[in-house]
Symmetry: C2
Subunit: 418 residues, 2 copies
């Protein structure tokens, strides 16, 4: 069987399983999640063994330390998978929820019912714990999943797949509801993203290059996350302490995350008062600062920001700083340079807070809070499959609801159109 | 300026206008809609004149009667456009609505705000009244629109575009918020659907061939409507009168609409009692019936249905009929052959009604109502831009809400991540 045939088979099986999953009751889905957690707990040694094989192969292949770190299934990460499954089991079941039922003049009653999307294809890098996380979210939302992890994690992923299948079986659900692609052939990805007859949506998780390639080639809708070029704007009427705390936290809490601030905008009215102190803080923490001309006039020791800086996601201890004349200029900068991920204003002014919330076109818009809060757990989604920077279907952190859709339901007493 | 440059210019202008539209208040948008209605009323003669040119050119080109009928702007259709604009003005503004604000343990308050999608590209056939309808829905939902109608309607569309621009101007909104493509070059469509930097979503309206072509070539998300292969299932416990009325109405109220029934499924327990009477009704109305083997055993005079019939959208006075053993067989048939548009059960049984609603994976699922109700006006959306058979973003009739999305908003008092 070649790769194309193999993927078609996975697709057919997933489509058939998705119909059973759509009607699975909440109790069965939760049972499966808890049984998966038990299976993982019972097979810790087998998981560690499979992961050791992947780690050895990875070292032989010369993977760098960051990749090896993500590949490793430490006991703490196995605990994390188990805990994650239990948390998803505890989340409310979104499927079947009905809203807005109302009577129409014709006498029919119309409303919307939340339903699964069907089959979800997830493509991710060599982080085996994602296999478990993705499976749990797809399962709870009544979908079937086809998971394609990075080839370096193949043994770990297969070992996790065994636990997942066991959990599904224990709950009487079809084990094809979660299928982990068994081949490392790259053609498998090419097929997965071009089978609209079997796959309803693709969620790629990984670097920008991977996501752009998948978006360009996909014949199936893609829920994607591209850049995180996030801004904090310190308004003239900002509270000094809030401004300092948030500006420091948004940049330095973690450098490599998508919701980290990359550009700081400061109103000219308070730049002279705030920037020297902020710059000292940043420099103590080892952050390289790149300023606009006006910033350099204030702090000549900084590097100059180039045009490219305003459009760069550093994912590193680097920050570009620009002084602006008022909120409108800040919003114009944000709407031009932001990746529409997360942007925040620091202000005590009610009218400006309200306008900023309305006018900034990003998936998360904040007032007086650190951009680092843009995250499924912090938002109360329980877990997230990713953060969408798309405009249709789902924006921002995508939890269970993002893996569902709504259909119309109509209840009548024999009504006909006249 | 070549077509590619021209379309890029439209795209840039639309993107700029979309930012102003996103912050336009409800009053301005309604004023623009009412001013458009007045402009159309005041320019009836110019519209009729432009339409006469299109009609003459169409006749010279040998367009068939159905196409000429759709192309014609009768006084009644002009009245319809004016009335439609006023109705959209009267609809509630979806933009800025906030839901589910709640406090999180960190102290931040998180919720969702409804926002426009941005720039919407609409591609449609030679029906000039669609220009007005599409413009009004995009405008009210805070979007900018690029409209590309069929080339046969070019003079009518330009005349309507003048009225639209006048309305926007009267309300102080940018006239680039609604741009009607002025060239009939087909390359314009090719560019429109491959400019993700300027266009956020494409809504194609027209025949299946057009929609498939656009979906295949688009590099922008598409909200689309493909087939309408709709089913009515008459259950063993159906009320006889409701079953007869709905089965007749769903097929014969109008033959050419996407929500017309194409296949009737009847439980074997009641087929002998219902089908002979139903067949007589249909035959009197001139409907050709094509039956499965069991149907032919009951009514030997009918034509035999072939495998292809179960997957055909007739859009004509033809109906395929299949006898099934119970609801599960009916659901299996529907989930296999339905285009996931609209499917109905006729039953008095509570448990079966509930299961049918849950298990049938179509954009509208009905109990004891005619499939003909699947329509934005009947559902209370006020107007519709189309009916989506997609699974992500919007399913079923798409009104103002389908042209919007939701972003997260976060309100804090200086919170930082720890």
């Amino acid at each position: 069987m070649d790769v194309a045939q193999y993927m078609t088979q996975l697709g057919e099986q997933a489509r058939a399983a998705s119909r059973l999953m759509a009607r699975a009751d909440t109790d069965s889905k939760n049972k499966a999640l808890l049984a998966m957690a038990e299976a993982i707990d019972a097979r810790r040694e087998a998981l560690a063994e499979a992961n050791r094989t992947d780690m050895e192969n990875g070292r032989d292949k010369g993977l760098d330390d960051a990749l090896l770190d993500r590949l490793e299934l430490t006991p703490a990460r196995i605990d994390g998978m188990i805990e994650g499954l239990r948390q998803v089991a505890a989340l409310p079941d979104p499927i079947g929820a009905i809203r807005d039922m109302s009577y129409r003049p014709s006498g029919i009653q119309v409303g919307k019912m939340r339903v699964p999307l069907g089959v979800i294809g997830i493509i991710y890098e060599s982080r085996p714990n994602v296999t478990c996380e993705a499976a749990s979210l797809c399962l709870k939302s009544g979908n079937a999943a086809i998971l394609r992890g990075g080839s370096e994690a193949i043994h770990s992923n297969q070992a996790i797949a065994t636990c997942i299948a066991e959990g599904l079986k224990a709950a009487g659900l079809p084990h094809e509801a979660v299928q982990v692609v068994e081949t490392t052939d790259r053609e498998a990805v090419g097929r997965l993203i071009t089978m609209p007859e079997y796959v309803d949506v693709i969620v790629p998780r990984g670097g920008k290059g991977l996501i752009e390639r998948i978006s360009n080639d996909a014949r199936v809708p893609v829920i994607k996350h591209l850049d995180g070029i996030c801004h904090v704007y310190i308004d003239a009427e900002a509270d000094r302490t809030k401004a300092l705390n948030i500006a420091i936290n948004a940049k330095t809490h973690r450098y490599g995350t998508c919701n980290t601030m990359e550009t700081l905008l400061v109103d000219a009215a308070v730049a002279g008062e705030l920037l020297p102190e902020l710059a000292e803080h940043y420099e103590q923490l080892g952050v390289e600062l790149r300023g606009c001309e006006r910033t350099l006039a204030l702090l000549p020791r900084l590097n100059a920001a180039t045009d490219a800086d305003w459009d760069t996601e550093y994912l590193a201890p680097i920050l570009s700083i620009r002084i602006v004349d008022g909120m409108d200029e800040a919003i114009a900068h944000i709407n031009r340079h932001s990746s529409q991920h997360t942007d925040a204003i620091i202000t005590e002014n009610y009218t400006k807070a309200r306008a900023f919330l309305r006018e900034v076109d990003s998936s998360s818009v904040m007032v007086n809070a650190s951009t680092r809060f843009a995250d499924g757990f912090e938002y109360g989604l329980g877990a997230e499959i990713g953060i969408s920077t798309d405009k249709i279907h789902a924006r921002g952190p995508v939890g269970l609801e993002g893996l569902t859709s709504e259909k119309y339901i109509v209840l009548g007493d024999g009504q006909v159109r006249s």
